[in-house]
């Protein structure tokens, strides 16, 4: 599974495909203020990205890839 959940901390890695979006979505509904670690993401499908954006979570680690990071600029960095 390319995403792991540890409390409020959600870690994504590798290629996150559209198939994972519903599952991630359901998981995020249950989490109050999710914090994302995206350092190891190679690519994420737009469906995954929009779930992250809609969750209003914070970023712990930006994606390493520049354009991916730019796409998720709407998410604030966690303090």
């Amino acid at each position: 599974m390319p995403f792991t959940i540890d409390g409020a901390r959600v870690r994504l890695e590798g290629h996150c495909t559209v198939e994972e979006a519903p599952e991630l979505f359901q998981a995020l509904i249950a989490i109050e203020r999710p914090r994302f670690d995206l350092a190891e993401v190679a690519h994420m499908h737009a469906a995954v990205a929009q779930v992250l954006i809609a969750s209003r979570g914070r970023l712990e680690q930006r994606p390493a890839e520049r354009t991916l990071a730019a796409c998720l600029a709407a998410l604030e960095m966690a303090p």
């Binding site: 559209v18 979006a21 519903p22 991630l24 979505f25 995020l28 509904i29 690519h43 994420m44 499908h45 737009a46 469906a47 990205a49 929009q50 779930v51 954006i53 809609a54 969750s55 209003r56 890839e65 354009t67 991916l68 730019a70 796409c71 998720l72 600029a73 709407a74």
Partner: protein, 853 residues
Amino acid sequence: MNSLLAQFIPEARDLIDRAATGILVLEGRPEDHAAINEVFRAVHTLKGTSGLFDVGPLTRLVHAAEDLLDEARAGGMALNSEIVDGLLESLDVVGRWIDALEHQEKLPDGAEVESSQRAVALRGWLAGTKPNSQPAAALAAAGRKLEWLVKLPEAERLAAFKVANGRPLTAWRFEPEEDCFFRGDDPLAMVRFAPGVLALQVEPNQDLGALDSLDPLQCWLTFHGVSDATPGALAEHFRYVAERVEIVEIADADLVLPVGSRADGPVFRDFTRLARLQIEAGRLDPSKVAALTSSISTLAGMTAPASLQASALRWCAALLDGSGLERAVEIEALIAVIETGNAHRLPPLAAPVAFATDPQREPNLGERLALEQIEAWLTPGPADIATGRFEALARTLRGLFLALGREAGELEPALAALRHKRDAEPLRKLISRPRPREAALTPATPSAPAAVKAAEPAAADGPGLPRVLRVDQGKIDSIVNLVAELIVAKNSLQYLADRAEREHGSRAMSREIKEAYSVIDRITQGLHLGVMSVRMMPVNQVLQRFPRLVRDVARALGKKVELVIEGEDTEADKNVLESLADPLIHIVRNSLDHGVETPAERLALGKPEQGTVRIAARNEADFVVIEVSDDGRGVDTARVREKAVKQGILTAERAEQMSEIEAANLIFLPGVSTKDEVSDLSGRGVGMDVVRTTVVKAGGDVTLRNAPGRGSSVIIRLPLTMAVTRIVTVDCCGQLFGIPMDLIAETVRLERKSIQRVSNAEAFVLRNAIVPIARLAERLGLDSGETQAEEEAVIVVNIGGELVGVVVDGFRERLETVVKPLSGILEGALGFSGTALLGDGRVLLILDLAEIL
């Protein structure tokens, strides 16, 4: 070559021709819907098909043309001459690329650059029309175009600005369809891998409520980006989602958007005073720009980085860094932001009152600042600095107008109105008026008609199209040659029948052979007709290039000419048509250059200003006749006579005796050209004599009809087909010769006494006309012996419109045969145009009577 590419090349040429023809029709009749649909379809198909090959630049250029045509088709713009020129030139370029593809299987070097330049030009026209043509909703969308630019992080904008280095950039907005995930699309991947991404921004396109109210499998994101790739390259990248993407060319100045919270302090006022002085100094002496740079960096060090002023300072530095004081207007505008701390209202647009005159138009940074400054000046301030404030405002506005290339003439009265009456309205209007440069900055890609486009091909390729087989011409030619040989071989049966009767005394056998012959003859004729009809093409194949030629030449000569083409459906053999192409071009050029007068001359002569050149094609028996006529000044026969005499072609007496029409036809002789100065159009060292030579070589002839002052027409007659020639064999001194049937007017038998001697030439009277006589034996240098026959066999031939009687010893049979040109050591033999094989295996020499006589 890849067989798909091999098919594409002729098809592409065909499409280019169709498009070019249609575009010319449109220039004259912009409302012709059939024509615009035809052109659009041709270009659309070309674009679609080219997508199969690795010819990106070609596809993109054609795409730009398609967009322009689409706009024209939607009624958004008229194709004026300039645009028509642009489209035709682009099609020419594509034609050249197709040639290159054929020879090298790749586009020539530099195609990429040329493609983007031309595409930008084409899209420029498209953009230029936008404000009047787009529906209000689309315009409002265009007005929004820069709103989101400010959302891009400043660092990314600064970086993009540096990359742009003064060149235009491309901004795009991509709103994927809601259900795109179900089709396997990943919009994010599409965005990530878009060419030349400099900055990206993603936002939800709806208010996101509670998370659990959303559907994770519907796409609700909108992507924005700035790229240094051309709009064409981006359009290519997003071609599968074209209807969901807006692509806009922006100027780098559009990125200059200072953001942040306002900081206060006297330091900014000091800085702005100093900076303005330094700009003045820098204008006089560029080496002093460094002082400005250092004051900017000093102040930046003292300012909170998140403040508006710091942001403006960073932009100042970026502008200075790139191009020194070339962009002083923008720098001054930024300095004004630093001074007033007042630009927080700039982006996003607060729609001030001044825009009410034209709400759809979006002012650029300079305009917005100018309006801000006016507002600021209108707020009451201390009386002692009022004059200074006004001067500063006036200076900024003058500089702004100068830089934007707008006429400053109206600025001064508007400034006076502001100063003395405190009436800002004239100034606001002046500033909000559309600027000339706007064309390049407005959106280039129409998004609405894309759905229509997708539906188009089905209609175009509907049941109306005939089923067509594309066959290599070489294959057809080899069949034609075989059929021609069959025709010759068939002749041998006739000969065999004669022999059966004469030598073997078997009349019954002879009859049976003759019966067999007639069956084979019938089938052969059918086969011949069938295979010839395959090679038959409408004359239009040759004529379709003329509208373009006439238009270009007429424009170059400053003449107004209408081209009328008649009978373009007339058919003739492909080879015949090909041999016709060059002479026709020359004749038409001649008509335009020497025939049709300039508009002024024509008006003075009481003729309509616009001249007419008419190309009419028709079938006459086994000939195709093409007549090129004009209503110009006609051929000056006096000049022609004079010229011919001067060239030593004629004696003065002979020239005098000639009829007008004979004199006019002298222009087909070498060295007779009515204009003395060589023009670069028709005077390319090719005279009308070359036209005649070419046409005669193809078995035809050419004549001229002339009405001085009212025009002239050149008439070309060519045999419908060249493969099989009908000839009459004649006997001369025991040898057989062939004479092409086309030349023969009639055959007569003359009593010797009716031949009259005129000095040392002979002639006879044929229906009240004197026909000169030539003896073939003499002309060929054969020994005829002294025959004292009562009658002479005379073949009356028509050579270049003149009748000549050729005396031979006797007429033999007529036959259809294939005339092979002389080759090898016979090649240079004068007096013979070729050889043919007789049924009994003998070789027949075909006479070239035009040369012999």
